[in-house]
Point group: C2
Chain length 310, copies 2
């Protein structure tokens, strides 16, 4: 629309994405699309994985311009390096690349946990002349891998940046602008707030889904029990199909906040069990009504904030 | 296809659905569609609710042929009466209608819990000359009301019938044929097996979803916490938007089986919490991998069994 105010163009020369999976790949896709539309100016988008699998196809499909399997080598002239790897792989990669980064380069990530990442970046990047701006795009699906990447994954979705007081403002603005180009809404938040909110709304639900599916599958009937499960169970348990390694990393990295959220949940669940034992229908329906009102509110809000992931 | 064997036509004169909500309404829709295609022979499909709201629109939209707000009055000449009401409303309705049913009439229901329904039917219908065949279509959505009804709701879905040794075979065959006409796959199962399986795959997930959403909404941030929830949480919590009254009834009616399933789940969740405390990544990933394998199996099975509810 002609009335849309002109926004600043995201400009960089060499953008390297280490760990070209669903999130890294979708970031590349979205930036390629923005570039084709003249909305950003990026000279080269580079994908880096340890194995060639996926990289070749990604180049062929126009997701990336170049690829490389050596992280240290590929960051040498990088202006921006986005780490798209699982949270616990960030530290070993930082150790590999830190001495190869050029001064002024910006390092960011896409991890679902921020305290550990900030600690690692602070320890390994301080006094290297490199800037770091941790970020977390709240988007994804139970699918994984660059083959599931899509340019619209972040459209209308939220990206949380957790810069510190010491962060270089220009570096923060660059990462913010990069995510703006994907169509995402950006929020800046403290590290501890991020980790607590995500423990509650993402990590705990994943833990419950993994746990329930495993409990059911371990019963006498085994997988047969799922024969009579319906669409409600399908939705509820979808996140239990998520990548085990990625979630292993998230839970170990955000242990304390997850346990805190889990204990709050368990206390309420114990109360609910007591209501059941007591045949206390009034208390049950009170909880269900409150939950339904909150869930209906969430749905409305969710539908008003951009496209869904399909 | 011409090679399809000719199946027996479902034939009845007067079919009354008491409680024309999502399930009752969708049953009516599906039967109307089958009737229009010449697959069933039903003289009159009658909808009965206490209030006129919905009934008039349902008639106008061709969902039902007639409607009535007086259950006792409307069952007088009925050949089949399907109770589409919440589980705890079945008993009071049976008390209302039992002396008005004609000998040979068949009473069925759509309740998600069967022991209580069987107990009520056995107590109230024995020696009345009326047959009863409890049934449970495993289909639905977080939506409710006849306005959400759709003819395809049961297509490819499963319907569990729980007849007893004393059930009249012709009556069982009639209810089976009725559900076959909706495109559903029918299973016959014992009452206790039904209630245990449903407690695990449906009732417990609903309890967890209601409980988690309520826990989150009750925190300091209140509904604001949902601002940063993503598609995974959306799927996981969808069933928390289900009808509180209906679920209140289900939980009270299937208390023992639900508590049994909940306790199994809680024991496993406690172990998972200990793995977290112990930073025992190996055990965590083992659980997640098992869960993912089971969930992937379920998804494959689910996709191969007919249409989804959308």
């Amino acid at each position: 629309m002609s009335s849309t105010p002109k926004t600043e163009v995201f400009k960089t020369e060499r953008l390297v994405i280490i760990g070209l999976g669903l999130i890294g790949g979708s970031l590349a896709c979205a930036l390629q699309k923005a570039r084709a539309a003249g909305e950003v100016s990026i000279k080269t988008i580079v994908g880096c994985n340890r194995s060639l699998e996926g990289l070749k196809a990604a180049k062929q499909n126009g997701v990336i311009d170049e690829f490389c399997t050596d992280a240290a080598e590929t960051v040498k002239d990088a202006d921006i390096v986005v780490l798209g790897v699982p949270v616990l792989s960030i530290r070993p990669i930082l150790e590999q690349i830190r001495s190869h980064l050029k001064p002024g380069a910006i390092v960011s990530d896409v991890g679902s946990v921020k305290q550990l990442v900030v600690d690692d970046m602070t320890e390994l990047l301080t006094n290297t002349g490199v800037h770091w701006v941790p970020a977390h795009p709240i988007a994804g699906s139970e699918q994984s891998g660059v083959s599931a990447a899509q340019p619209g994954l972040f459209k209308g979705r939220k990206v949380i940046l957790t810069p510190s007081e010491n962060s270089e403002p220009r570096a923060v603005a660059q990462i913010d602008a990069m995510w703006r180009a994907t169509g995402a809404e950006r929020f800046h938040m403290s590290v501890s707030e991020h980790d607590r909110v995500l423990a509650a709304t993402s990590h705990l639900p994943h833990l419950l889904a993994f746990s329930l599916v495993d409990t059911l599958a371990s019963q006498e009937r085994g997988w047969d029990v799922f024969k009579f499960a319906a669409g409600g169970f399908r939705d509820f348990s979808r996140i239990a199909a998520s990548d085990p390694k990625m979630w292993h990393d998230i839970f170990l990295s955000n242990r304390e906040a997850v346990i805190e959220a889990l204990d709050l949940f368990s206390a309420d669940l114990t109360n609910l069990r007591q209501h059941l034992l007591d045949e206390d229908g009034e208390s049950l329906i009170e909880v269900f009504k409150r939950a339904k009102a909150a869930r209906d509110h969430f749905e409305e809000q969710f539908q008003n904030t951009g496209s869904d992931i399909e």
